[in-house]
C-alpha cells in the first residue's frame, strides 16, 4: 500500500483538529467551559464583532507604532554595529548576552513610567522587537560578499554609491528575515502587555473574558490573535521570497536551482 502524500496528511490533520474541536465539546467529553466548540467560538466572535473590531484597531495601532520603533532603531543600530568594526567587536557580544534577559520583567517598569495606556505597550513591544531586527541587520551587513564591495570600489564607486548599490541590496534579504522575526515579537509583546495590565486591545479582552469565565469569548479573542500572527507571518515570508532575487542575482549556478518564483520576481535595477 502506498502511503498518502505528506501534504494530504497535513491537510487531513488540520481538518481533523477542526472537526474534533467542534465534535468533542458537543458530545460533552470535555465541558464547554474548558473547550468551547468551534461554532460557539465563531458565534461569540460574530455576536460581539463591534467589541472585537474596536479592540483589534487598538492592538493594530500599538503594533504598527511598536514595529516602527523596533525597525527604525533596530536597523539604525544594527547598521552601525555591523558596519563599523570597532563597534562590532565591542558591542555585539554584549547584545547577545543581554538577549538572555527575559524582557517581560521590564513591563512593570514601563507601566510605572508611562501609565497603562498605549505608550507603555508600544515601548515594551518596541524593545521586544528591537533585538532580532538589530542582530540580523548587523549580520546582514557583516556577511556581504567582500568581492562585491571590492568590484564596486575598483570601478570607482563613491561611498554613497557603494552603500546604495551594494550594501543595501545585498543585505536586504537578511534584514527582512529580522523584520519578520521582530514583527512577530512586537505582536507578541503588544498582546502580552495587554493581557498583563491594560484597559483596551485584544489581549485585554482575553483577560477580561477569562476573569468572568466566558470561555467562548476567550477562545474567540485567542483565535483572532492566531489569525493575525499567521497572516503577518505569511505576508512577511511572501515579501522575503520576492526579494530573494536580489541576493541570487548574477550568480548563475544558484539562480538555476533556485525557487521558480524567483524568475517571475522583478529584476533589481
Amino acid at each position: 500500500m502506498r502511503r498518502p502524500r505528506p501534504v494530504t496528511v497535513r491537510r487531513l490533520l488540520i481538518v481533523a483538529v477542526l472537526v474534533l474541536w467542534e465534535a468533542v465539546p458537543q458530545t460533552g467529553l470535555i465541558p464547554e467551559l474548558l473547550l468551547p466548540s468551534l461554532s460557539s467560538t465563531l458565534r461569540a466572535l460574530i455576536a460581539d464583532w463591534d467589541k472585537y473590531g474596536e479592540a483589534l484597531l487598538v492592538t493594530l495601532y500599538e503594533v504598527s507604532l511598536a514595529m516602527l520603533v523596533a525597525c527604525g532603531a533596530g536597523i539604525l543600530v544594527g547598521a552601525l554595529v555591523g558596519g563599523l568594526k570597532p563597534l562590532r567587536d565591542l558591542l555585539l557580544p554584549v547584545f547577545s548576552s543581554l538577549y538572555a534577559v527575559p524582557i517581560v520583567i521590564l513591563y512593570p517598569i514601563f507601566t510605572a513610567w508611562l501609565g497603562i495606556g498605549s505608550e507603555a505597550k508600544i515601548a515594551f513591544a518596541g524593545v521586544y522587537g528591537f533585538f532580532p531586527v538589530m542582530l540580523s541587520t548587523a549580520a546582514g551587513i557583516r556577511t556581504i560578499d567582500p568581492q562585491l564591495l571590492l568590484a564596486a570600489r575598483a570601478m570607482g564607486a563613491t561611498v554613497p554609491q557603494q552603500i546604495g548599490r551594494v550594501v543595501i541590496p545585498a543585505s536586504i534579504p537578511t534584514v527582512l528575515t529580522g523584520l519578520r522575526l521582530g514583527g512577530a515579537l512586537t505582536i507578541i509583546g503588544v498582546v502580552v502587555s495587554e493581557m498583563l495590565t491594560s484597559t483596551a486591545g485584544i489581549g485585554y479582552l482575553v483577560t477580561r473574558y477569562r476573569t468572568i469565565l466566558d470561555s467562548a469569548h476567550v477562545f474567540a479573542a485567542v483565535f483572532m490573535i492566531l489569525v493575525l500572527s499567521i497572516l503577518f507571518d505569511t505576508f512577511a515570508r511572501y515579501i522575503e521570497r520576492r526579494t530573494m532575487v536580489w541576493q541570487t542575482a548574477g550568480r548563475r549556478e544558484r539562480t538555476d536551482t533556485a525557487d521558480r518564483r524567483l524568475t517571475t520576481a522583478p529584476a533589481p535595477v
Binding site: P6, D89, P108, T197, S229
Partner: protein, 250 residues
C-alpha cells in the same frame, strides 16, 4: 583592537552606565521616585533577598522552572529526533511546527488557567508548553548537523549502533545541543515569569508585577536586577561550555 582594549572599553562603558544610574537620580537630574539610584536599589536587593516571603517565592519559581525543564527537554528531544530521522513524518510536521513556532504562546495562558487553576501545575504546564517547540526545532537541527559521510565511514568500518551514537552522533550534535539547552532555558525562564506575572499567588514574577502595581520602584528594580543577573550568569556559563565543546566539531 586587541582583546585587552576591548575588555577595558567594555568595562568603562559598564562603569559609565552604572555611574549614570547612581548619579543622575541622586542629584535630581532624573526623578528618583521613577528611577531609584543604583545604591538604593542594591541596598534594597540585599534587604529583599533576606525576607522569608521573597526566599519562598524564589524557591517556588525555581521549582517550577526545574520541573518544566525536566518535562520539556526529553519530550521535545524525542519528538524532534523522530521528525528528523523519519523523512515522512518530517515532511508532514515540519511546516506545521514552523507555523506554531511563530505563534505567540502566551495567548494560551487563559486555557492553562481554565484547566489547571493558577497553582504550581499551571506554571509548569505553561512553561513546558512554551519551551517544547524550541527544543523540537533544535533537536531536529542537531540531528541534521550529523554529517552523512561520517555515518557512512563509521558503518563501513563496522561500528555498532552504540558506537555510532556515542562516537558520531553525540560529538557532532554536542554544540547544537548546548545551544538548544541555552535557548530553551531562556524560553523556560520567560515562560515561568510570564505565567507568574499573569495570575499567581506566589513566585518571583508575581512579586515583581505586584511591586510595579504598587509603585514600589526600589523593590521593583531590585527584582529586575536580580532576575537579569541570574539569566545572564546562566546564559554565559552555557556559552562558555559551548566554546569548550566546539573544538569537537572540527
Amino acid at each position: 583592537m586587541n582583546r585587552l582594549t576591548i575588555l577595558a572599553v567594555r568595562l568603562a562603558l559598564l562603569g559609565a552606565f552604572l555611574a549614570a544610574w547612581e548619579m543622575l537620580p541622586r542629584h535630581g537630574v532624573l526623578d528618583a521616585r521613577m528611577l531609584p539610584p543604583l545604591g538604593d536599589v542594591l541596598r534594597m536587593l540585599v534587604d529583599v533577598l533576606g525576607r522569608p516571603r521573597v526566599q519562598e517565592a524564589i524557591g517556588v519559581s525555581a521549582g517550577e522552572f526545574a520541573v518544566a525543564f525536566l518535562i520539556a527537554i526529553p519530550l521535545g528531544a524525542a519528538i524532534g529526533i523522530l521528525i528528523a530521522e523519519n523523512d515522512y513524518l518530517g515532511e508532514i510536521f515540519k511546516p506545521m511546527l514552523f507555523y506554531v513556532f511563530s505563534v505567540p504562546k502566551s495567548i494560551f495562558l487563559p486555557m492553562f488557567i481554565l484547566v489547571f487553576g493558577i497553582g504550581f501545575q499551571q506554571k509548569v504546564a505553561y512553561a513546558a508548553f512554551s519551551t517544547v517547540f524550541i527544543v523540537i526545532m533544535s533537536a531536529t537541527a542537531a540531528v541534521e548537523s550529523v554529517k552523512a559521510d561520517h555515518l557512512l565511514v563509521a558503518r563501513s568500518y563496522g561500528a555498532t549502533r552504540a558506537q555510532i551514537i556515542g562516537r558520531v552522533y553525540l560529538p557532532s550534535m554536542m554544540p547544537v545541543l548546548l545551544e538548544a539547552l541555552r535557548l530553551s532555558m531562556i524560553f523556560n525562564f520567560t515562560g515561568v515569569l510570564i505565567a507568574e506575572m499573569y495570575a499567581s499567588r506566589t513566585g518571583i514574577g508575581q512579586l515583581i508585577a505586584n511591586w510595579g502595581e504598587n509603585f514600589q520602584m526600589p523593590q521593583l528594580f531590585a527584582g529586575v536586577v536580580f532576575l537579569a543577573t541570574v539569566a545572564i550568569v546562566f546564559n554565559e556559563s552555557i556559552r562558555w561550555l559551548e566554546a569548550q565543546c566546539s573544538a569537537w566539531r572540527t
